[in-house]
Symmetry: C2
Subunit: 415 residues, 2 copies
C-alpha cells in the first residue's frame, strides 16, 4: 500500500482515455457529435462499461439509464462518495465537456487500484443520461435521481420525431432495472472543464466552484414609427434603433458596475424594416442576465427594466419588457467546497473560487446530497464547439484534486 | 382678361385630375403602382397628352421620352419658363409624388386659359421619364436633359431582364424625335409634396425649398469575439453588439447637437451569430447622414468616424468604417427662391424655408437653368407608400404659388 498523500493520477492514461473515447462520434472538425440515446451514445457507454469492468468496478444501470460503477469500500454500511458527469455531447461538441468528469472518475479508480488503496466508504462512478438536452430536455436523468423529476415522466418524454425516451434508451441497451434515486449518496463531486476563460487567463489550474449563477432571460420589444431617413427631423422621430442602442449600452453598464460577478449579454437583436434609409419602427432584442445571488439578480432585473422604460419614455417608444425564462442560482455545499479547496492546497495546485455560468448535473445533485465541482482550464474558454481543447497537465491537476478530495471524504482504510 | 393678381387656380379641378390619373395603376391599398416605361406609364402619358391637347398646348417628346407641352408666349424669341415633374411611381406608391407637380403645371395652364391671360415668355409643362428609378436608374432623363448624362447612354441602359431603355420607351410609343436638352429654358419650377412631416406639423401650407441635402452613406463592420454569455466576464469580452450600441447612440447625438438641419439614421443592423446566449462576434450597420452643406457633411463624416473608431478601440473591436455612397448637396437659385417666396407672400399663404431630404428632377435641372421647388404638406409626411395623402386646399395653395411665381417670371403680356 502506497502512502495515500503521495498518490497521483496518471496524466497520460487519462489523456489517452479521453482521446480514445473521442473517436466515437468524431467529427471532421476535430470535435465530437454524440447525441444522447443514439447508437453512438450506446457505443460510448459500452466502452466505458468495459473499462469499468476491467477496473473491477461493479456496474448497475437505473431505469432512466444512469450508469453507476461501484468500487467497494471497507465499510459495507457506508453510503458511496459519487463522482462523474456525462458522455453525451452537443451535435458539434468537443472531447472534454462531460467526458472529462467521467474519465477523471475512472482514472481515480484506476489510480487507487494501482496504489492498492482501499477506501472506507465505497466510490460510485456515474454517467448521467442526456445532460446536453439536444434530443430530450437536458439534466433530466440526474434531476430524476435527485428527486426533482418523476422517473416515469422522464421515460415518457418524446423527441421531435415522437420517439419516447424509454424506447430510445432500450434501443441502445441501457434501460436498466435499478430504481431511480433510491440509493443513498454521501457526497457528489464533479470535475469539468470551465467552459469559460478565467482559469486559463490567470494561469490557475483549478477552479473551486461555489455554485452556479441564476439566470433571467428577457425579450424586449420596442415600437417606434417608421419614417424617411432623409426627411424626418431628429426631434420628430420615434426611432426604435436609437432606443435599443441606448438600452443595450445601459444594461451593459449595469453589469460593469457590478463587476466581476454578474454577466449581462445582448446576443440577439432584430430590426424592422432593417432598411438603410428608413428609420426603424421596431426593434426586438434579448437580454441574458446571470448572477450567483438570486436576490441581486432580481435587483438587476428591476434596475434594467426601469432604465429601459425610462429610455423608451424619453424617446416616445412603446416597450414590452418580458421575462422569458428564469433559472434559480445553485449554491454548493461548504463541506464539499472545503474538501476541494483543501485537496488543491495540500497538492500545491493553484486554485481560485468561481461560479459556474452554465448548468451541470451537479446543479441537480445539490438537491439530494452535499455537492461540489472542480473546474479545469479549457483553451480560450471555448466549449460547445469542435475546437474545445484542454491541456493534459491541467486535466491531471483537476483529477488529482478529485482523487484527494474523494479520499478525504471516503476515508482511507487503514490510513 | 382678368386682373392677373386676382387669378387663382381651381382646387377642385386639380384634385379631380389627380384622382383620375390615380386610377391608372391603382392598387387595392389605395395607392398607385405605375412603374416607368410600362404599359401603365404609357396610359398615364396618353391621358396627360390628351389633357394638354384639350388645353391647346403643343406637345413634343424628346429621344429619352421627356414630354414637353408648350403654351405659347407673346415673345417668340423668349426661352420658356418650365414646370413639371414625373408620372411614374414606386411599385406601391401614392397618387401625389411627382403627379402633383405635373398636374399643378397643367392646372396653371388651364387657369391661364380660363382667365384669358397670355404670358410674354412661353410656358413648358414637362413630364420627366423615370424619376423613381424602379426599373432603370432614377433621374436619368432629367439628367440627360440637364447635360449630366449622354442621351445615348441612357437609351442603352437595360433593366434586370435585359430590356433596353430605348426599346421599353418605343413599346409605349414615347420614343420621341426631339434632341435631348437642346432647347433653352429660362427657369424650372417644380411643385411637389414634401414627403416629410415638417409643413403639416407646423400648419404651414408652402415650403420654399432652398436646396437638397447632400448625403453620405456608410457601412460599419465591427469585429469582436464570440463568447459564452454565461461564462465570459464583462471585462474579458469583445462584444460587437455593445460597440454598435454605443456608436448608434453617438452618431445620433451628433445629429441632435446640430439640430435642426442634419439627419443621421441607423436603419440597418445585423448581428452574428445573433443568438441569445452568445456574445456577438460581428455587427454590421448602416449610417445614412444628410446635410445641405457639403462641408458640414464632410465634418460630420469625420466626427462620426473618429468617435466610432474611439469606441472600437476602447472595446478592443476591429472596425471597418466605409463610405458606401455619396450625393452632393444641391442649392437652388436665389432668383427662383425669391420668386416662390414672393408669390407666397403676395398670396398671403403661410410658408417657410426648408431643404429637400429626397432627390428630385429639379436637383438635375439646377445644372442647366435657374431652378426652384415648392413643397406642400402631405399627411404624416408619408410617401413612397400607398397611404400617401394630401389635402386639396394645400395642393391648391402650392399650385397658386406656382401660378404666380410663373407669371412673375414669364411676365404677363399687356400686364
Amino acid at each position: 500500500m502506497s502512502d495515500p498523500a503521495a498518490v497521483r493520477t496518471n496524466a497520460a492514461r487519462l489523456w489517452q482515455s479521453i482521446m480514445t473515447m473521442g473517436e466515437i462520434g468524431a467529427t471532421p472538425g476535430g470535435g465530437v457529435g454524440r447525441i444522447a440515446l443514439t447508437a453512438l451514445d450506446g457505443q460510448a457507454r459500452d466502452l466505458f462499461v468495459s473499462w469499468c469492468e476491467a477496473a473491477d468496478l461493479r456496474v448497475r444501470v437505473d431505469r432512466v439509464g444512469n450508469i453507476f460503477a461501484r468500487r467497494a469500500g471497507t465499510d459495507p454500511g457506508a453510503a458511496p462518495v459519487m463522482t462523474g458527469s456525462h458522455l453525451d455531447t452537443q451535435p458539434l461538441g468537443g472531447k472534454f465537456d462531460g467526458i472529462y468528469g467521467v474519465l477523471a472518475g475512472l482514472e481515480v479508480a484506476r489510480t487507487l487500484n494501482d496504489a492498492g488503496l482501499r477506501t472506507r466508504a465505497p466510490l460510485d462512478l456515474v454517467v448521467w443520461t442526456d445532460e446536453e438536452g439536444v434530443r430530450f430536455n437536458g439534466l433530466l436523468a440526474s434531476g430524476a435521481f435527485a428527486g426533482i423529476y418523476d422517473p416515469d415522466d422522464v421515460l415518457n418524454r418524446t423527441d421531435r420525431k415522437g420517439v419516447r425516451f424509454a424506447d430510445a434508451l432500450a434501443s441502445i441497451g441501457y434501460a436498466g432495472t435499478e430504481p431511480v434515486g433510491e440509493h443513498d449518496v454521501d457526497a457528489f463531486l464533479e470535475a469539468h472543464i470551465e467552459q469559460g476563460p478565467i482559469l486559463e487567463s490567470e494561469g490557475t489550474q483549478v477552479g473551486v466552484v461555489l455554485g452556479a449563477q441564476g439566470q433571467r432571460c428577457f425579450m424586449v420589444t420596442l415600437s417606434g414609427e417608421e419614417g424617411h431617413a432623409g426627411t424626418l427631423p431628429m426631434h420628430m422621430r420615434k426611432d426604435a434603433m436609437l432606443g435599443a442602442a441606448r438600452m443595450v449600452d445601459a444594461v451593459n453598464r449595469i453589469a460593469f458596475e457590478h463587476e466581476p460577478v454578474p454577466v449581462i449579454t445582448v446576443g440577439h437583436l432584430a430590426v424592422r424594416p432593417n432598411s438603410r434609409n428608413t428609420i426603424p419602427g421596431q426593434v426586438v432584442f434579448s437580454i441574458d442576465s446571470r448572477h450567483p445571488d438570486d436576490v441581486v439578480l432580481a435587483g438587476i432585473h428591476e434596475e434594467m427594466q426601469k432604465i429601459c422604460e425610462t429610455i423608451a419614455a424619453e424617446l416616445g417608444l412603446g416597450i414590452d419588457f418580458r421575462l422569458q425564462s428564469e433559472r434559480k442560482s445553485v449554491t454548493f455545499h461548504d463541506e464539499c467546497i472545503s474538501l476541494i479547496r483543501g485537496a488543491a492546497s495540500r497538492l500545491g495546485i493553484g486554485h481560485r473560487d468561481l461560479y459556474s455560468g452554465a448548468g451541470h448535473d451537479a446543479c441537480q445533485l445539490v438537491h439530494k446530497t452535499p455537492t461540489g465541482m472542480i473546474f479545469v482550464p479549457c483553451e480560450a474558454g471555448i466549449s460547445h464547439n469542435e475546437r474545445e481543447n484542454a491541456r493534459p497537465e491541467d486535466l491531471a491537476a483537476g483529477c488529482d484534486v478529485l482523487l484527494h478530495a474523494t479520499l478525504a471524504r471516503a476515508g482511507v482504510a487503514g490510513g
